[in-house]
């Protein structure tokens, strides 16, 4: 997909700002998923929460995928990147794989063993399962670019004579 896109301008955001955005996006996603999973099914509140989460995800991904240099770096083909960029991108995938696999193991252990044994919340209805599966899909789509945003160094300031 990114092969047909024009490369966006380099990010002017500092590393600190990028990291805050990544943390904010993760927190917003978790809050949306918690609303969808925990609110009583069929209520107006859960309908609004679902709609907001769906629209937020679609618009967010649409904006990021077309305008973000970080997304481009995380998903562009080898030919569009130089060696330094490929190194950063590949390292981001290595980290993302570890985090994703770890979360999958912890989630499976919680839902199959720990949650039922301790009487904690576990997904039982369709809405809760839907929220969890979609949460993992969204995480899978966004995690590598999130690590690229996290790891990229601060932009070099313009030279002023």
């Amino acid at each position: 997909m990114t092969a047909t896109l024009v490369r966006p301008a380099p990010s002017r955001l500092t590393r600190r700002t990028r990291r805050l955005i990544v943390v904010g996006a993760a927190a917003a996603s978790l809050a949306a998923l918690a609303c969808v999973a925990l609110l009583p099914p069929g209520s107006l509140a859960v309908s609004i929460a679902k709609l907001t989460a769906a629209l937020g995800s679609l618009i967010g991904f649409g904006v990021v995928m077309t305008r973000s240099s970080v997304w481009f770096l995380g998903n562009a083909p080898d030919t569009a990147l130089d060696e330094r960029e490929r190194t950063i991108r590949d390292r981001a995938y290595f980290k993302a794989y570890g985090v994703f696999a770890g979360l999958a193991i912890v989630t499976a252990f919680y839902m199959l063993d720990l949650g039922p044994d301790l009487g904690l919340w576990v997904p039982t209805n369709y809405d809760a399962w839907w929220a969890i599966v979609w949460g993992f899909v969204m995480l899978g789509l966004g995690l590598p670019a999130g690590f690229v945003a996290w790891d990229l160094p601060d932009p070099v300031p313009d030279f002023e004579p």
Partner: protein, 162 residues
């Protein structure tokens, strides 16, 4: 050269993974046999697990548990066959190894995500029998978790002669 278990555990991961005792696993044909064995074992284990859930049969669950040591042996051998690329810390690998490892994780990311997503959708969103769900989820989990290591074992070139 033989070592006691105590001596082996005293070694660092890097030393263990580069130990000459695993030279037998480091040629490409053997690595590929190990990968084939892992896939066969994963599919067998997933089938047994699915059948044990579907038929509610504890003997099948016991058979699944009996296969567990086989996983330890094959995964350990695969890791040693690629000199621990996927489990040694980054600062203990050389530049070529880091580049190969990171590139392989990127290549494996989308296939692993597709496998896990398909399995999760099947398990959580469909009405197929529980045994089938359990078997497919377990098989997908085994394959996706070790995909970078088995892909490296399959694709790495032969090591140059010393």
């Amino acid at each position: 050269m033989t070592r006691t278990i105590r001596e082996t555990f005293a070694m660092s991961r890097r030393e263990i993974m580069n130990d000459p005792q695993f030279d037998w696993a480091r040629n490409r044909p053997t690595r590929r046999w190990l990968v084939a064995a892992y896939v066969a074992l994963a599919l067998s284990a997933a089938t047994l697990f699915g059948l044990s859930v579907g038929l509610r049969n504890l003997w099948l669950l016991g058979a699944f548990c009996v296969l567990t040591p086989g996983f330890f042996f094959i995964i350990g051998s695969i890791n040693a066959s690629v000199r621990g690329l996927t489990e040694i810390r980054t600062n203990e690998l050389d530049e070529w190894q880091i580049a190969r490892r990171d590139a392989m994780y990127r290549v494996c990311w989308w296939p692993a995500l597709a496998i896990m997503t398909a399995a999760c959708f099947l398990a959580a969103m469909t009405d197929v029998p529980d045994g089938l769900k359990a078997g497919i989820a377990m098989g997908a989990f085994f394959i996706a978790l070790c995909l970078p290591a088995i892909a490296l074992a399959w694709t790495l070139p032969e090591e140059p002669e010393a």
